[in-house]
Homo-oligomer: 480 residues x 2
């Protein structure tokens, strides 16, 4: 039985369907964390607000309900009928150092309560741990994952990937998990990286894991801030879970796809969800704390599901690069984090669809999109008949090749074709220097390939400034 | 009587209150255009959705209701009690070339129906018109504005600014209007620029007009797309009006702050307004056209008011630069349009508040913010005691001056002070080259000012690459 299928793709992100015992779970999806005993928002309400699935904690259920939960099953405990994933108590293990359950017990318990997605008791190693700790933790995680694979019944199995901030250990963890064979691969122990905005490291870890886990769904454990969804999905993540909606609400904080706002500093709600439509910030501030918390948590859920829909719509229309490149403005570390994809050009290219409808330049990171590399490569197969090739930066003039920022040489016959022919790119005076230099470099590559041809190049004086060290077969004319 | 007051400011934008005969109108605000005879959405409903004011057409009311409207008053005709602005028929004049009313008649009619903001019958000249046409149109506009100033009763008077794409004529129009003395200054005949995404020209026209109209509210006639609100407010616009919500809905198009989507291409709604919360895109597509139009128009209104609130919240917290710099990603022409502010650095600086809480770098346009220029200027008044000044790019090292992208030299004592001390800026490896070059240039400016001091400069090799042509009083050491 195939447990999931990919419906749509863009960048390294996908819309998938994961088939569970409680129906399909369409991803990207965020699974809100529900504490079965003290939910801030009732799970029934969370589903009404838009959750496609829920994650809850099997360890807490075991300790507080035991056999009663086995009798009812986790879905009836929560009162819902959507897919339920259960965590194993690893988080408690990380926080308290020890817990009163074995791996085999908690797996069996998850089977018994009818969880749709079960997780072994992996050992989370926080970032910057000693290497020896990360290694021994990982050994234990792998052992427990093997045990889980043997003890699983008919639930889907999630095999967490650990290894702290050691990239080689993360890759090893992913390889071992894949060998064992899970249905979903959560990347664990990232919360400290998220909390300290270490997004460049986050980017690297996700990409390295995605490279090993080629197609199966990846879950980003503990990531629940909507400012990260577009970024993480574009890097290949499918599932998120988080208590963020509740934790932030308890701290009087309001989530947006561009970061967090303090309720105390808000005069206007930049949202029209049922909460924000109904209340003014001042009204919320005047409520008693528990009422306010629940209402804020609801907004935080609405905006999270909204952002997931924005990401899905972007995948559908192949504008996920554009969405990410706007969302990363929410913090310079996110900008810097995204720019790490430069180092993974080949990997991103393997996943990103070749043909899209349009290419909108959104800033310097647009030049790292695979479409730009592919454009350059497509020039290699070109043939020119005459001995002289006319190049111009002026689209009004007849030429064999036009010169554009970002892409560089665009052949006459490419003018109607994606990407360069469907690209909206600012003029040379309004674009980053790197986008101009790349264009010139690409022209020179073409000139060197056709070293037996003569290139007559007519460019504006703005272009001429960047055209130093022109190859010998070039002849530069500055247009006035 | 003072007709308006400024409550808050950021960049060149403001939160104002305009006092009308029907209460205060808080700006930035969008006044939805209502056709009194065939409203797509009932004005009462529009106000419920969030409109703080309405604009309707006095010429159409005159022609279709005449005395009946005078008897009832425009507010009762529309069934609402919020501020109402009336347009004069200029739009009809532009479209049909001629209309059956004189300036003096339409002003008097607006007085009689109790409009809160009246507009004379100005003569709109479209972009790229013949200069002689623009001049003669403008002469007539000015004449009619003089007449309006005489005939106005107790309504607020809006004096449109015309002049086509001739910047000098726009300025002349603004000067004359200001001399005549209006309460609000709408910039007219811009729709063709908006429709063809000529945002650089739009930026120039707004800034040039704002420079003349120093403090009074500016209205951007015909601008109603939420993708432009942050941009236009940051340039100094206060009021918008538009039929966009209805026109786009009729064409099955869905507005977002990042551009327009076709309903036919939507699978997910990236919004949680009452419309998007209730329906799936497919359900809307299956409705009959008139029902769908009204529902889409309502979403378009909700998202427009939401975006106005996002802009107001950004002004409140002094993050309007950050908001604009994310919003301009919706189209490369908007990006290029915004980058025009480089040419108006002194003007922007006059308006932008000096102290803010933080400076988040969002891309290369962040270096055009006045905070960067002010930082450089603040260095001029610095004094150094010793003969040697220690500069370092390594924050872990003791130094008199630290080197940061964008700002360049940041004195030890500035490390806790806005802007440089409160700035989040990517590291040198992840930032645009211009941001590094500017930093180096600023350091050299400082070195030349203190030409009698010796600068010992310790930088990483990434910095060293950019530190050519170092002034004679500098001594470069590359950190390993």
């Amino acid at each position: 039985m195939q447990n999931f299928e990919i419906i749509d793709k863009d960048v390294m992100g996908r819309i998938c369907r994961i088939y569970t015992n409680h129906g399909k779970l369409e991803t990207p999806a965020i699974l809100p964390v529900v504490n079965p005993n003290i939910p801030l928002v009732d799970p029934v309400e969370i589903v009404k607000i838009g959750a496609k699935g829920i994650i809850t904690n099997a360890y807490i259920i075991l300790k507080t309900m035991g056999d009663q939960a086995v009798e009812k099953g986790v879905h009836r405990v929560l009162g819902i009928d959507v897919p339920v994933m259960t965590d194993s108590g690893s988080y408690q293990l990380m926080v308290y150092g020890d817990i009163e359950v074995s791996n085999s017990e908690i797996i069996e318990f998850q089977n018994l309560i009818g969880s749709d997605i079960i997780v072994p008791l992996d050992v989370p190693t926080p970032p910057d741990a000693e290497r020896s700790t990360a290694e021994s933790d990982l050994r234990m995680t792998i052992e427990r994952e093997r045990e889980a694979a043997k003890k699983r019944k008919n639930s889907l199995l999630a095999l967490p990937i650990q290894g702290s901030t050691y990239i080689d250990l993360r890759k090893l963890s992913a390889k071992e998990a894949k060998k064992i064979g899970g249905d979903i691969y959560p990347i664990g122990a990232l919360v400290p990286l998220l909390d300290s905005y270490r997004f460049a490291e986050l980017c690297k870890i996700i990409l390295e894991v995605r490279e090993v886990i080629k197609v199966e769904p990846i879950h980003l454990f503990g990531c629940g801030h909507p400012m990260l969804f577009a970024f993480a999905v574009a890097l290949g993540c499918d599932l998120f879970d988080s208590a963020a909606y509740a934790l932030y609400a308890k701290d009087d904080r309001y989530l947006t796809p561009f970061g967090t706002k303090k309720l105390s500093e808000m005069n206007y709600f930049p949202c029209r969800c049922p909460v924000c439509k109904k209340y003014e910030p001042q009204e919320l501030r005047e409520m008693n704390k528990s009422e306010r918390e629940e209402i804020l948590a609801k907004h935080n859920l609405f905006i999270s599901f909204q952002e997931i829909d924005a990401v899905k719509q972007a995948i559908k229309e192949n504008t996920l690069f554009e969405l990410v490149e706007s969302r990363i403005r929410s913090h310079p570390n996110l900008l810097a984090g995204w720019r790490k994809i430069r180092e993974y050009g080949d990997l991103v290219e393997k996943y990103d669809p070749k043909i899209k409808r349009k290419f909108l330049y959104c800033g310097i990171e647009s030049i790292y999109r695979p479409a730009v590399k592919r454009h350059i490569r497509s020039l290699v197969n070109v043939e020119f008949e005459g001995a002289e090739i006319l190049v111009s930066s002026d689209f009004g003039m007849y030429a064999d090749i036009y010169l554009r920022p970002v892409f560089g040489p665009v052949l006459y016959q490419m003018n109607e074709v994606y990407p360069a022919g469907h690209a909206e790119v600012p003029e040379i005076c309004e674009i980053e220097e790197e986008a101009i230099k790349l264009a010139v470099k690409n022209l020179y590559v073409l000139m060197r390939k056709f070293h037996d041809k003569k290139f007559k190049i007519y460019v504006s004086k703005e272009w001429a400034k960047y055209m130093k060290d022109i190859p010998e077969n070039g002849e530069l004319h500055v247009l006035s």
